[in-house]
């Protein structure tokens, strides 16, 4: 049993999962939509929960978030991290206020905040898992976001799996060249310390490698006129010319708006 969990939770699996997330290869409803519509959809879903304090309305919005996560086919890694974070938050805050003399009411008060945060996070998972880097950065450019932000997004999504891969290689290499600790000590603290030292020292070659990669990338970009092209209106319109809004896009957006608006009276009935 222990062996099996170890296999599932390997670093390689995490890297593959990140790749699938970054390139949205799972398919799903939102990956077929126009990226600008997905961002608009995200804004609707992310702002709506902040407009209310009613637990009933928040429950409906939370359910909408669950539906969109299912439609977007969010992967197990992202979903698992989200659930751990949400549950950890609830339990931690509850324990804290219990220590200082709170009671079950505390949990109810905290439930509202966590429902709100959960609904917003699920909207962002569904939206950003479904957008591949190129589309997302084009949509950001269309909304007149700073060019550095648009570039950072597309570069980050592309480079992340490569960087993680490289880091794992360096880390494993360092580990192979080190003797294991002679005695693990109390609770294996020497093992933990060695891992921490290795994790930090692995940054030395990683920083040098990344510096080289970054120089290559940036010089290639600048040769093609990145800095000047991005701020040039003709270049911008050429780059964004392929974006089209179809009937499906509008239908999804309209349905979402209707559902979110309907959530308010519906939640009032529930609560």
């Amino acid at each position: 049993m222990a062996r099996k969990t170890h296999d599932v939770l390997s670093v390689d699996w995490i890297r593959l999962e990140l790749l699938r997330t970054a390139y949205s290869t799972r398919g799903g409803l939102f990956s077929r939509l126009d990226p600008r519509i997905v961002l608009a959809w995200y804004l609707v879903m992310a702002i709506a929960p902040w407009l209310t304090h009613d637990t009933g309305v928040l429950l409906v919005l939370f359910a909408l978030g669950v539906v969109s996560v299912v439609l977007a086919r969010v992967g197990p890694l992202v979903l698992g991290l989200f659930l751990i974070g949400l549950l950890g938050n609830v339990i931690g805050l509850f324990a804290a206020s219990f220590l200082f003399g709170g009671n079950l009411d505390t949990l109810v008060a905290l439930a509202e905040l966590n429902l709100k945060l959960g609904a917003v996070s699920m909207a962002s998972m569904a939206a950003f898992v479904s957008l591949d880097p190129e589309k997302l950065s084009d949509a950001l450019l269309w909304f007149r976001a700073p060019e550095l932000l648009a570039f950072g997004v597309s570069y980050g999504y592309r480079m992340l799996p490569i960087l993680v891969d490289e880091y794992v290689t360096v880390f494993e290499g360092q580990r192979l060249r080190h003797a294991p600790v002679e005695r693990p000590g109390l609770l294996g603290w020497r093992v933990v310390r060695q891992w921490c030292v290795l994790a930090v020292t692995a940054f030395y070659p990683i920083m040098l490698n990344t510096a080289k990669n970054v120089r290559t990338t940036v010089e290639a970009l600048e040769t093609r006129g990145f800095t000047y092209g991005a701020s040039n209106p003709a270049g911008r319109s050429l780059r964004l010319a392929y974006l089209r809004v179809s009937a499906t896009d509008l239908a999804v957006l309209a349905a979402t708006v209707v559902l979110v608006v309907a959530a308010f009276p519906l939640g009032g009935l529930l609560g």
């Binding site: 670093v11 995490i14 990140l18 970054a22 992310a46 702002i47 902040w50 407009l51 209310t52 304090h53 992202v78 989200f82 974070g85 931690g92 324990a95 804290a96 206020s97 200082f100 003399g101 709170g102 009671n103 009411d105 505390t106 008060a109 945060l117 996070s121 962002s124 998972m125 950003f128 898992v129 550095l148 932000l149 950072g152 997004v153 570069y155 980050g156 999504y157 992340l160 960087l163 993680v164 880091y167 360092q174 060249r177 930090v200 020292t201 940054f203 030395y204 920083m207 040098l208 990344t210 510096a211 080289k212 970054v214 120089r215 940036v218 010089e219 970009l221 600048e222 990145f226 800095t227």
Partner: protein, 309 residues
């Protein structure tokens, strides 16, 4: 530690302020592509370190989280070796792009607040390091980085509870526990993030990389005493800009806490503050940000004219 540090020079060689071309080819002023390189390097490395921390589980003793919130030595190294301004612009973006967007942890307006806090923290700490080989400066930089970031966010958190926008006073025992937790958390953060994963690795890494990583990016290593490359001018105008950014970050945090509720679903809220409160908050943020941008432009222009003369 397999990598050996080059021997420290017996005495810091001070060359004074350099201007323009250094050895006929390379210049102290950063070129456009070098600025972009520093920005991208800082973004990807800080993002990578955040991903690694994301995979490691967060241990907590009782209600106090004893995890490491970020690897301080990564942005500190880049700020100390290259340019604090461009490193500070890139690092928080790396956190947002790599962990928050990809992991579905994106929290809207609070991200703006986090970005501004981290930007200020890295920029201030990086500017403190004038000599990348000075140990006291590195330790000071690491601790200041954590302190600026964490104190700013602790003040925001506490103020939210005191003003009562988070409805926490209805919950028995929550405000007191918040105060105690913030103070405890600050101490833990300084020890864990600032010293264990900040000062100690940076003390080894910054001198080890100094003089090795710069040629890979086509730059000349920094020498102590010369002005910080790509530096925003430390004039009064720029300090004003930084202060206004700090105020704006509070504004964003509060706007989020006020829930932009526009009043219709929260009659109690209206009774206490009135509709105007939200409008005032939004206008205040707009004015503060506008003034900040104007000041920044003015600072840039004055620097450009100073360079030309």
């Amino acid at each position: 530690m397999t990598t050996q540090n080059p021997p420290r020079p017996a005495e810091d060689e001070r060359r004074g302020a350099l201007r323009g071309a250094v050895d006929g080819v390379r210049s102290v002023q950063l070129s456009t592509s070098q600025k972009l390189m520093i920005f991208v390097l800082s973004m990807s490395l800080f993002g990578l370190s955040n991903i690694i921390l994301e995979i490691i589980p967060d241990p907590s003793i009782g209600p106090v989280d004893v995890s490491v919130s970020y690897m301080v030595f990564v942005p500190l190294t880049i700020a100390a070796l290259f340019s604090p301004f461009w490193a500070a612009l890139g690092a928080p973006l790396g956190e947002i792009v790599f962990t928050d967007l990809l992991m579905g942890d994106f929290s809207g307006l609070a991200e703006v607040e986090g970005y501004l806090q981290m930007f200020l923290a890295v920029f201030i700490a990086g500017s403190l390091i004038r000599n990348p080989r000075s140990r006291p400066q590195i330790v000071l930089g690491a601790i200041i980085l954590v302190l600026v970031d964490k104190v700013l966010s602790a003040i925001v958190d506490l103020a939210k509870v005191w003003i009562g926008v988070e409805d926490a006073e209805f919950v028995e025992g929550l405000p007191e526990s918040m105060l105690a937790l913030e103070v405890l958390g600050l101490g833990v953060d300084v020890v864990m993030s600032g010293i264990l994963l900040g000062a100690i690795p940076a003390l080894w890494l910054i001198p080890a990389l100094h003089g090795k990583i710069e040629p890979l990016m086509g730059m000349r290593p920094r020498t102590p005493g010369e002005p910080i490359p790509g530096q925003a001018p430390a004039s009064g105008v720029f300090v004003g800009f930084a202060l206004l950014l700090a105020v704006a970050s509070f504004g964003f945090a509060f706007l989020e806490a006020f829930d932009i509720s526009a009043g219709s679903f929260e009659p109690d809220f209206i009774d206490r503050f009135g509709d105007w409160f939200i409008v005032v908050a939004i206008i205040a943020i707009a004015v503060v940000l506008g003034v900040a941008i104007l000041l920044f432009r003015a600072a840039q222009r004055s620097r450009e004219t100073a360079d030309r003369s």
